[in-house]
């Protein structure tokens, strides 16, 4: 039997799945389908507008070392997005290759292991990178508009972005195949060892960045160079993120040869890594599948955990049945490695965002910088909270799936089930968000009024987003889907994300921005400005918005759940 027809068979499979999926989406309702497109465009439009404003400010205010700053920011952006792609592709690919029913079906046929790998790889990369492309394209378009780049800059952008997506995806795929095949049987020890090594490395790098940041001021070039130099990892000549930055900036300057060299570097390395991953899959995928199916050292015994008891204590204010439901949700969450791996990623990003290296240098910061940094921390944390809740909380009702009848037959009302999920989401998000931002604000030495405003704003954002995600998740569930990441990218998930972003912008704009705005108007290195009552004028409206964001979606969700049939 020849395997020569298999590549074409898989290509036809992907085309048919895409075509039929699109047809079903249109048949389900053009309005719904177009709403998803529109919502995505809104998010991209927001990214474009915000980026255009920031790049414009760099030019308008004649910020020194603008080129170095833009280059540095692009390096960080590509490095961060690339790192996120590695993790998200790995998580999706692991599930796709080793635990999905489709993998079991394909591996029981004469399909070659590398062809199965290739088709799953394409799906995983496409799925994990759409957000990168949706956000990356507007940012670079904005840069192009503000910098007055040649027309072919825009033509090269898709080539750069697609080439870069291939690179971390291939690294992730190779790592996934190798890890599953060769990971030590004692996974706990291995994970602890890797985690400890990562913490040590991060600590060393963070310490060096801290001391460099201590002596840095924006208008003193020597220190800026030193600071940027501390991020030598992301700016190294062997870092793909740096090839991207060099290529994109060369294209912006009209230097075609340079741009194409960097583009070729990105694509050639991406393709080589992909070939390596496919070759590894050809030899190691099936043995890895066998090894993964066999489990670790032996039968794992799942017991009650102290974490479950802590979760139960945190929701002490709820009645017992609701508390039990919250602990059930937490337990299923913490036992799913694909969920908490992504949570760790989100948590790290929030930590980096809120623990901005300049946060700890209150004595060296100008008044304006202090307020700018604290606002950035708050905004960044709120956006990541929105993304995190969308990813982990919105799918909660959907993930009950066809097993919902089990809960439905218990003497617990469906309203209680929904409130339990709200309590689960709200408790975690309030604790994490408040802890991060308030700690950072204390280090920054912001005044007590602002500290209180930030605390109140974050509480409103966390509670409101929790209500939105749980409520909308119940109004627009997807009970057929068992993969939470696929629930999120559906129509409901997209609407939820856009609503959440709009909500947090409104709350932060009403509650917090007036106070910061009053400080931005003062001279550099001046004392804290006295604030008048008008900076608090938006607080009642924001509080009312928060109450609506909790009550309305949860009411609608409860009504929807009561009417669901199984």
């Amino acid at each position: 039997m020849s395997t020569a027809t298999q590549p074409a068979a898989f290509r036809r499979l992907r085309v048919r799945l895409a075509r039929n999926g699109l047809r079903v989406a249109l048949e389900a309702g053009r309005v719904r389908f177009l709403s998803v497109i529109f919502s995505t465009l809104v998010v991209s439009g927001f990214a474009f507008g915000f980026s255009l404003y920031l790049f414009g400010q760099l030019t308008a205010n004649a910020i020194p070392f603008k080129g170095a700053i833009v280059g540095f920011l692009f390096d960080l952006l590509f490095f961060t997005l690339g790192s996120m792609l590695v993790v998200s592709t790995g998580v999706i690919l692991y599930a796709s290759l080793y635990t999905s029913p489709e993998a079991r079906y394909l591996l029981s046929t004469p399909a070659r292991a590398d062809y199965v790998f290739a088709t799953r790889f394409q799906g995983a990369v496409a799925f994990s990178s759409w957000a990168f492309v949706a956000l990356g394209v507007p940012i670079f378009l904005a840069y192009g508009v503000s910098a007055g780049v040649p027309w072919w800059f825009y033509a090269l952008l898709p080539a750069f972005l697609l080439g870069y997506v291939l690179l971390p995806g291939s690294v992730s795929a190779l790592g996934c195949v190798l890890l599953v095949r060769f990971m030590p049987r004692n996974r706990k020890q291995f994970a602890l060892g890797v985690g400890a090594a990562a913490v040590v490395l991060l600590g060393v790098w963070g310490y060096r960045a801290y001391w460099a940041a201590r002596h840095t001021l924006v208008n003193q070039g020597g220190e800026l160079e030193t600071l940027i130099g501390r991020f030598e990892l992301v700016r190294s000549s062997v870092a793909p993120s740096h090839w991207m930055t060099r290529g994109v900036l060369a294209a912006a300057r009209g230097e075609a040869a340079d741009a194409l060299v960097q583009l070729a570097l990105v694509w050639s390395n991406g393709l080589v890594l992909y070939l390596l991953a496919a070759a590894a899959a050809k030899r190691l995928y099936r043995p890895g599948y066998d090894r993964q199916a066999g489990g670790g050292r032996g039968k794992k015994v799942y017991r009650d955990s102290v974490l479950d008891r802590v979760m139960g204590l945190l929701v002490f204010y709820l009645d017992r049945p609701t508390r039990v439901l919250v602990v059930k949700d937490f337990r299923t969450f913490r036992r799913d490695p694909t969920q908490w791996a992504l949570l760790i990623l989100f948590g790290t990003l929030m930590l980096v965002g809120a623990g901005n290296f300049r946060s700890y240098m209150s004595a060296d910061l100008a008044v304006m910088d202090k307020y700018a940094v604290s606002l950035m921390n708050l905004g960044g944390t709120a956006v990541l909270l929105c993304a995190g809740l969308s990813r982990f909380v919105f799918p909660l009702v959907s993930l009950e799936g066809r097993k919902f009848w089990i809960l439905g037959l218990t003497p617990v009302s469906r309203d209680t089930i929904l409130w339990g999920k709200f309590a689960f989401a709200a408790t975690g998000s309030v604790i994490i968000a408040e802890g991060l931002v308030l700690t950072s604000d204390l280090f920054l030495g912001v005044p007590a009024q602002l500290l209180g405003l930030h605390a109140a704003a974050l509480a409103v954002v966390a509670l409101g987003l929790s209500g939105l995600n749980v409520g909308l998740g119940a109004v627009m569930p997807n009970f057929r889907e068992t993969d939470p990441s696929k629930v999120v990218v559906g129509f409901g998930g997209t609407v939820n994300m856009v609503a959440g972003l709009g909500f947090l912008l409104a709350v932060i704009g009403l509650m917090v921005v007036p106070f910061h705005g009053a400080q931005f108007g003062r001279p550099l290195r001046g004392a804290d400005a006295a604030v008048s009552w008008w900076v608090y004028a938006g607080v009642p409206a924001a509080l009312a918005l928060g109450v609506l964001a909790v009550v309305l979606p949860l009411r609608a969700g409860a009504r929807a759940l009561r009417g669901v049939e199984f």
């Binding site: 591996l107 099936r286 066998d290």
Partner: protein, 250 residues
Amino acid sequence: MIELTNVTKRYGPKAAVKDLSLSVPAGELFAFLGPNGAGKTTTIKMLCGLLFPTTGTVRVGGFDLVTEGDQARALISYVPDQPFLYDKLTGREFLQFTTDLYGMPAAKARVKIAEVVELFHLDDFVDDLTERYSHGMRQRTVFAAALVHEPKLLIADEPTVGLDPKSVRELKGLLRRLAAGGTTVFLSTHTLDIAEELADRIGIIDHGRLLGCGTLAELQTHAAVDGNLEDLFMAITEEAGRETAASRTP
């Protein structure tokens, strides 16, 4: 057709299959019985090449599943207890994908697809997306896909679960015809009536060990039990359970 020689499969310290040796000739309908957790599905997955034996060899059609897996799998069709279909493909597209995977020439594939569509009465829904199929429709489509490429060995794990009586009867007739036509059928089931009615030979496994293998009459003689397959099954597995408990007692 099937040769398992001293096959052991360990999951960590636990052996799911212990020193299993079994031979099934071509054209035989072999029923594989055992309680839950006995090692039936592990054995079946080793026959498909999804799992590799820790020790021993598994051969199908003379090909070793570990070293010549692709050639062996070209002869096999596996229908699991929870069959997989692509939700966003029609039944016909799934059949076409299957023929492509097994390298069937296009002209022959068209003929065979038309045959199985008629055989399994798929006409009414074969051009609908499979996400809209009922359980019975899914089962018939999966069997159609399993047979469209004319396998030498059909492995079916609990094929009658969720089927209505009419469908069960049709399935039994199909399995009989397949075996009569030279296809080896390896059937894993809890439904002892079906095994007793259809199987040429029966294998009983428990705690990873093959406790008995042969025709119903041979098993009755071996176990010194006169009753039906259910009596035989209970006697053999309970006896094995007592022996295992005795061997653990200090």
